[in-house]
Subunit: 402 residues, 2 copies
């Protein structure tokens, strides 16, 4: 019997992945770049146990047994086993490929909130499988076959996913391009929006964009290519104001091609646009104060939540501004509303409070998560942290309610 | 003393004008096409009086005296006078160019609702001036210098505004391309949305799009050019389903380049997107019923209001669907809510009511205007209809509260 427990992080793209050139292998039309977020506040956790005593493969996700027949999970498992069998296995180790497998996964944040849970989940699964079978070398191309953006969660800090050129996708891999502290003391605030909108899933959404948006051709052939170059330069130069503008422009362009899809794929809501507008007003103030290194930027994935990147020096001011402009509903305490890293409230200047406008309404956002940039997946050696019982190989009762 | 009273229509573009190549002459980056709407339900009305007894030029707009120094009005006046002076004036008629002018204008619909009031207003002003000074020939290039899209309100039915190629803009004119009954019994429903959003005016918005949106280059060079060709063909062939898809695609593309503007210009709200989504669901039903000639299409200008083009055979069904999905606020009667052409309520099938989803909320729309396609500006000979008193040349008391 062999067991390993790992955690893996969420990542947030600053140059977006939107559109595949190969649906089956999950190969993207363009390179993308992301920040990996701290696992202290959000992570997926997976325990993988293999044993000659298990009579079948089993899979539990967030406390519920699920089928392993999911083709994306199967693709990951098949590729892991193929790599393992290619290794020179010593002695009896060859047998472990014939042992059945138990997999138990859970997220420590709500799956439904649209917070890239599948990226963290597949990265964690593949990383844990890699540990169990002793796989060496790149795991990102395997994680990619679970969920495209999962390949970026295999590494920490700033990560670039190279779209690759080969038809078999073997060069479509992620690589770390800068460590977690590249922009020192950088904070992340995720504004989880209330939304009743029935949204198009990102797999369907990006397929429809590729098929119907004329503007998408221009994004892929020209604008995202040149923006990627500018972004790499901004990162290399640690040019934070340029990084901010490029991040916002790419998010805007992604949502523009979604709007240009037929029928339109609309992910941002009035609340999303209100958060974006607040960020632009905040930045205008910083520009007028000649304080552009304290600019903030937003990015939006295929949902209404804003993800803000905020220099640590102004994070308390920005949190206070968000609390003022988007007050919690009356039933929420500030601690329930602002989660993650503790921050001390600051008093806002009139210049800042006036940005909120006249139509302040509580409950537009469900809560905020204050976190930071972080490292890649981790092995958790402490047996108490395992999601599977060491004797039975079945989920521990406590882990059922994750 | 010479006086004339005219009315002029609103127009709604189906291929959008968004972006100027010359700010001063108001020359657009692309051709556009619009429907002129019926003046029975919405129009601007202008009385122009010239008299040797007047001691100064005066201007009243919606009951309030305004300065004539506005450069856009001055451009129109200057061009009209230039054209008049070029004419062979018989006898003493030359003198009228030295007479002072009184202009009184009013809209019969709320200016604030973002319903292209400036297009109707400038078309009406220029048409009335043209009558007073006996100008012959094209007036659209003069109206264009008041407000770009005003040039299309000089004609009825379907109108094409040719962007023109000349630097002086003399070939940037509108021309009727099909009469008002080209698509017989076509109806128009304007859904006036409640919105508190502070919006970017269209002049600033389009300038910012031209300056900052990378996708805009593609719209101007390629996609709007090919869509214009397809639209001309769809109109020639009276291909209503193709017309609908092209209209919606062009509206979506315009709002996509607005979203791609930096900072983004966002005009559509959650309510706007909900109306668009309802139209797509309605069309999916019509497609499944092999009834594509009863498709509906939407278009959105630089504001949250949806303009729907609806075949007459289904207009009562569509109105009933809108009333169901977007109920009036409790204080409104159905007659206050649905304005314009009278329609008889129909009972909706379950297929239709299920389109409204679960989050039906009253008051998202302020009211609906049910109207149709119409003709170009008219001279109103009835002296009772004049906005200026025949003796004093000052606004009649009644017209002050328009």
């Amino acid at each position: 019997m062999k067991t390993v427990t790992c955690t893996a992080p969420v990542n947030i793209a600053v140059i977006k992945y939107w559109g595949k050139r190969d649906e089956k292998l999950i190969l993207p039309l363009n390179d993308s770049i992301s920040f990996t977020l701290s696992q202290d506040d959000m992570c997926a956790k997976t325990t993988v146990t293999i044993s000659p005593k298990f009579t079948e493969d089993k899979f539990w996700l967030n406390g519920k047994e699920e089928s392993l027949e999911n083709p994306r999970i199967q693709n990951c498992l098949k590729e892991i086993r193929r790599r393992a069998s290619k290794r020179k296995l010593e002695g009896s180790a060859e047998d472990i490929l014939n042992w059945h497998i138990h997999i138990c996964s859970a997220n420590n944040f709500p799956t439904a909130a649209g917070l890239a849970s599948s990226a963290a989940g597949y990265a964690c699964l593949v990383y844990a499988l890699g540990q169990v079978y002793g796989i060496e070398g790149d795991l990102s191309s395997i994680a990619r076959q679970g969920s495209g953006s999962a390949c970026r969660s295999i590494y920490g800090g700033l990560v670039r996913w190279h779209k690759g050129e080969l038809e078999d996708g073997t060069d479509s891999i992620a690589r770390p391009i800068a460590p977690a502290d590249h922009f020192p003391n950088l904070r992340v605030i995720i504004c989880v929006a209330n939304s009743e909108r029935k949204k198009t899933g990102s797999t369907d959404g990006m397929r429809q964009t590729v098929q119907t948006s004329k503007l998408m051709q221009h994004r892929i052939k020209e604008s995202v290519v040149s923006r990627m170059e500018s972004m790499i330069k901004a990162i290399k130069d640690k040019n934070w104001p340029a990084f901010c503008d490029l991040t916002m422009a790419d998010s805007n362009e992604m949502h523009a091609v979604c709007q240009d899809t037929f029928p339109p794929c609309v992910y941002m809501t009035d609340t999303s646009h209100a958060v974006a507008n607040l960020v632009h007003q905040y930045n205008d103030l910083k520009i007028s104060q000649r304080d552009i290194n304290h600019k903030v930027c937003y990015t939006f994935d295929a949902g209404p939540n804003a993800c803000l990147f905020v220099p640590g020096a102004v994070v308390e001011e920005v949190l206070a501004l968000l609390l003022f402009a988007f007050p919690p509903s009356s039933s929420q305490s500030p601690a329930e509303y602002v989660r993650g890293i503790q921050a001390h409230p600051v008093t806002l200047s009139k210049e800042l409070t006036s940005m909120a406008g006249e139509d302040i309404e509580s409950g537009k956002l469900m809560y905020l998560i204050h976190t930071k940039v972080g490292d890649g997946p981790r092995v958790i050696p402490d047996a108490d942290e395992s999601l599977l019982d060491a004797t039975t190989g079945l989920p521990k009762p406590a882990s059922g309610a994750a």
